[in-house]
């Protein structure tokens, strides 16, 4: 992508805004979709959250200070939107977000937009049994292959802590798979 500052200016200028935003959508819709889908698990929910994410990006772009990369800023919005969505959904269903995660994973077997085999399904179940932060770190590292440095900027956690979280997550997942 061109110089980020110029691109942000294009996004803010009413004359170039439309084409610049289309470019932003083309560039980020797939990675952000995957990120959100990994958290909310269901396609329809991911679609809703992704739309809200881009609308928020558009709305708050004028307040974007450029302290972090546009990429990390957008990921941060997407993460917050997805986690808030899960928590609200759990509240609506009168359950905890951990219990909801387990239920959502169980639903994957019947989901037409999940074509995972046995090991893929088992991995999803193992992840759902992790604490929230470890889930997030594992998904971002393992599925999305986001670098620790970028993850650190997105989640506001030190690289060392992220590595430790990932290490714990891997151990627990291997244990889970072994016992199930």
């Amino acid at each position: 992508m061109q110089d980020e500052k110029d691109f942000i200016q294009e996004l803010l200028n009413p004359k170039t805004q439309n084409s610049a935003f289309q470019k932003l959508l083309r560039e980020y819709q797939r990675p952000l979709y995957n990120h959100i889908r990994n958290i909310v698990l269901n396609h329809d929910d991911a679609d809703d959250v992704l739309q809200n994410t881009f609308i928020k990006v558009f709305k708050y772009l004028k307040d974007f200070k450029g302290d972090s990369k546009l990429f990390s800023w957008m990921y941060r919005i997407a993460t917050n939107e997805a986690i808030t969505f899960i928590n609200q959904k759990a509240k609506r269903n009168g359950t905890t977000s951990e219990a909801l995660q387990t239920k959502l994973v169980d639903n994957l077997k019947a989901d037409v937009y999940f074509d995972g085999n046995e090991i893929q399904f088992k991995l999803q179940k193992a992840i759902a049994a992790l604490p929230e932060k470890q889930q997030l770190v594992f998904k971002m590292k393992y599925y999305e292959e986001i670098k620790y440095e970028d993850m650190s900027e997105i989640l506001g956690t030190s690289v060392g802590a992220l590595k430790a979280s990932y290490h714990h997550a891997v151990k627990k997942i291997e244990e889970f798979v072994k016992n199930n």
């Binding site: 009413p14 935003f21 959508l25 819709q29 739309q51 994957l108 991995l123 999803q124 393992y142 291997e174």
Partner: protein, 137 residues
């Protein structure tokens, strides 16, 4: 499964898929929802309003300055007794000098102002027991 190690396995993908053409239509779906940027309208009314405020402020000043001056002057006015005392004790002009300054007309005027009717004079003289002494003198 006893030796399951994530690092030894080929990378396991999430298994998630999307409906056909989902990303092709996604952009349009989002763009349609974006709040349209309204062209900035500079309201004539609001700029007029500013002028009204400015004019009102000037008018208030125009009215208030003479009023202030008037009341300020009033406050500085001193009563007659104070003025008289001031002149009596601070003035360097002697009484003779004041008399020199008075012309005949002024004197006549003073006379007229001091005019007392005869009855009053007679009454005063009657009640004054030392009158005879004065006459003798």
């Amino acid at each position: 499964m006893n030796d399951f190690k994530l690092d030894n396995e080929p990378r396991i993908s999430s298994g998630f898929t999307t409906p056909d053409g989902y990303f092709d239509s996604f952009s349009e779906k989002v763009l349609a929802q974006l709040p349209q940027q309204e062209p900035k309208v500079i309201s004539i009314f609001s700029s007029k309003k500013t002028w009204y405020y400015a004019i009102a402020a000037v008018l208030v000043l125009m009215i208030s300055i003479p009023l202030y001056t008037r009341y300020a002057t009033n406050n500085e006015e001193v009563d007659d007794a104070t003025l008289e005392n001031y002149i009596a004790y601070h003035s360097t002009i002697s009484e003779d000098e004041i008399v020199d300054l008075l012309n005949q007309e002024d004197l006549d005027k003073m006379k007229m102002e001091l005019h007392v009717d005869d009855a009053a004079i007679e009454e005063t003289l009657k009640s004054n027991s030392n009158l005879e002494e004065y006459l003798i003198d």
